[in-house]
């Protein structure tokens, strides 16, 4: 089930960046990923980290991992990385 074939990219939207001075978005994103995957190395899982203007990340997750992330504290929404079109 953790075959790369079963994973797809999801966006994990976490709202505004916390104003706490000790908050580092990237390490928070990595620790969330480590927690849901149970893997110490999450190479290839993290696709993007949103950390300059708002908080969130994009990552390769299985369906059950997606469900787990969606339930986590601090997560607003989790949604598939779909393609939008030029208009």
């Amino acid at each position: 089930t953790d075959d790369r074939q079963d994973k797809q990219v999801y966006v994990v939207y976490m709202g505004s960046l916390p104003s706490r001075p000790d908050y580092t978005p990237m390490s928070n994103h990595l620790s969330i990923l480590q927690e849901v995957t149970g893997e110490s190395s999450i190479t290839g899982r993290l696709v993007r980290s949103y950390k300059r203007s708002f908080n969130g990340f994009a990552a390769r997750l299985t369906e059950s991992e997606r469900e787990q992330v969606a339930e986590m504290e601090g997560v607003v929404s989790v949604f598939p990385n779909k393609k939008l079109q030029l208009q």
Binding site: V11, M14, S16, K51, R52, L84, Q85
Partner: protein, 594 residues
């Protein structure tokens, strides 16, 4: 753009009032397919160094160089920011391209190609490859553009349908942009004229529909009997008036050396030219000579073919002609009502989006299967209307640098030209054009504005049943939803309400507050203009607002009563606040679930 800005009254050169120092300090972020950096539209001749506020980078990839006009480039596709589709160069040059004289598509549409703010700077964020634009890339572009210090974001991208705000990358990005004082302008979508097709539905986004201008491209078909039929296409091929045999059919191979006449949208590779039926009602570039006739003219052509032993004719090169009917909302432009926030009118505004000539990328072809390479090309879509409004927003900001996104949003909507329901049915109501057609000059001086801040949007979201907990995360602030807020009381420049029943008598109220950005001592009187056939009764209380100072705010309530509404069409009116100088117009739209 060789005609669209003139059409809107934003004339070339010194014929338009400009604040050049501020314009030069204005940065438009374009989230799209990148740009062609060598285009004259992005040349930095005469430009000084980037504004001090600029915090971005030039990271466009191999062989991509920025300059003092094109000050930033980022790539989220792996292809580099160089535009290989043409779309991003087109939209960026429409918003903020230099004024480049004598541009055309092989002589068609000749004029000065230019953006709304030619002295402004461009930052390109590439998120699209030919198969589409990923959600994760779009969010990255917003994340960077906001932090880089752009003033306005133009994004001509969207989904086919509205996505819930918390899962819509454009709504999410634009929300955080709004919180930092940056207005996001977005295309409404190209899924019209189907109702409920508008995809950009957040109140913190300025959503743009597409319309025609007073210029259209027509391609004549001249028959040997002397009759001339006028069709649509952007045909740069010159048959030099030579007549060829006309042959009816569906396969191009049947028509080698002849002109193929086919009802279907086929373009023959072997025929001299193709004549078919126009199903789109606007002109597009084709890789071979083409003219698309109206159904009546096509039938008339068939009658000529069937009654003549050796029918012959020719297709002429396209001409730009005066279009008395413009502006008219394009058929393809997505329509309301808004499916997510049913009491929020979308699209907001209309702008030129049909047959627009602007910069292009020579790496792309101007039409499918086309071998030509061009630096300027003609395209249509709400993609083209969106950067026109982004240019207007930036133009307003050059005169009013302290105006918030919502004030600019309001100024653009309340000063729009009225548009009429020129066709029958829901496709040509406010659900097509919103407040009307953008008027850049009037928008500089709106008199009164409907101002909104982050807290107002939070209240609106509470009304849509977002929880305090979710909203606290989104905004980073303590939020308490009281449970009695109605989305229609958002202080928006338009007023709309969806009723569940058609026949019952109803009363709907809208609470609004206007801010005086005009003359300190001014008295505004309200006027209600009912649209044709509307059975609404509208009262405004108070109906006179006496302003004593600039930035003074005054509240009022609009009460709409009625019964027996048409289940198929919205009922509408306009509220106009006027002090004799400014006319501040808001559409009022009541519709039913039918």
């Amino acid at each position: 753009t060789t005609a669209s800005w003139d059409f809107m009254g934003l004339k070339e050169g010194k014929n338009t009032k400009r604040n050049l120092a501020m314009e030069s300090d204005t940065i438009i972020g374009v989230i799209d397919t990148g740009v062609w950096p060598e285009s004259e539209s992005f040349s930095d001749k005469g430009f000084g160094p980037p504004p001090k506020k600029w915090k971005g980078v030039c990271s466009g990839g191999k062989n991509f160089t920025c300059n003092n006009k094109l000050i930033g480039a980022r790539d989220y596709t792996g292809e580099g920011t160089r535009d290989n589709q043409g779309h991003g160069s087109h939209t960026a040059s429409t918003a903020a391209g230099n004024a480049v004289a004598g541009e055309s598509f092989f002589g068609i549409g000749n004029g000065t190609a230019r953006g709304g703010v030619p002295a402004a700077r461009v930052a390109a964020y590439k998120v699209c490859i030919p198969t589409g634009c990923t959600t994760e890339s779009i969010l990255s572009a917003f994340d960077d553009a906001i932090a880089d210090g752009v003033d306005v974001i133009s994004i001509s991208i969207g989904d086919d349908n509205a996505i819930p705000y918390e899962k819509d990358p454009i709504a999410i990005g634009a929300f955080h942009a709004m919180a930092k004082g940056i207005l996001t302008v977005n295309s409404a979508g190209n899924s019209g004229p189907t109702p409920n097709s508008v995809a950009s539905v957040a109140p913190w986004i300025l959503t743009v529909a597409a319309s025609t201008t007073n210029r259209e491209f027509l391609t004549k078909v001249v028959l040997e009997n002397g009759r001339t039929l006028s069709g649509r296409s952007v045909n740069a091929f010159d048959l030099k008036g030579k007549n060829y045999p006309l042959v009816e059919g569906t396969l191009g191979s049947q028509a080698k050396g002849q002109i193929l006449v086919s009802r279907y949208p086929t373009i023959s590779g072997t025929a001299v030219a193709t004549i078919n039926v126009d199903y789109k009602n606007y002109s597009s570039i084709s890789p071979r000579p083409l003219s698309s006739l109206s159904q009546d003219d096509f039938d008339s052509l068939l009658s000529y073919l069937n009654s003549t032993k050796s029918p012959r004719g020719t297709v002429l090169k396209t001409e730009a002609v005066f279009n008395q009917k413009g502006p008219k909302v394009a058929s393809f432009s997505s329509r309301g009502p808004n499916t997510l926030a049913v009491d929020l009118l979308k699209p907001d505004i209309t702008a030129p989006g049909v047959e627009i000539l602007a910069a292009y990328s020579p790496l792309s072809s101007p039409s499918l299967g086309d071998q030509r390479q061009v630096k300027y090309s003609v395209d249509s879509g709400t993609s083209m209307s969106c950067p026109h409004v982004a240019g207007v927003a930036a133009y307003i900001k050059t005169f009013h640098p302290d105006w918030s996104p919502s004030v600019i949003h309001s100024a653009i909507m309340t000063t729009a030209w009225s548009m009429n329901a020129s066709d029958t049915g829901v496709a040509s109501t406010e659900f097509a054009y919103g407040a009307g057609h953008v008027d850049p000059i009037a928008a500089l001086n709106p008199g009164l504005v409907y101002e909104l801040d982050k807290a107002d949007h939070i209240t609106f979201l509470c009304g849509l049943n977002y929880t305090s907990k979710t909203l606290k995360l989104i905004t980073g602030e303590a939020v308490t939803c009281t449970g009695n807020t109605l989305p229609r009381n958002l202080n928006y420049p338009s007023m709309s309400a969806k009723l569940s029943e058609t026949n019952s008598p109803f009363t709907v109220t809208f609470n609004r507050t206007v801010t005086n950005v005009g003359i300190p001592n001014s008295t505004y009187k309200s006027q209600i203009v009912l649209n044709h056939g509307t059975k609404l009764s509208v009262k405004v209380s108070p109906n006179v607002l006496s302003m004593k100072s600039v930035n003074e705010k005054q509240a009022f309530t609009v009460t709409v009563t009625g019964s027996g509404l048409d289940p198929k069409l919205p009922s509408s009116a306009n509220l106009v606040w006027s002090d004799g100088t400014h006319n501040v117009r808001s559409p009022i739209v009541i519709y039913t679930s039918g």
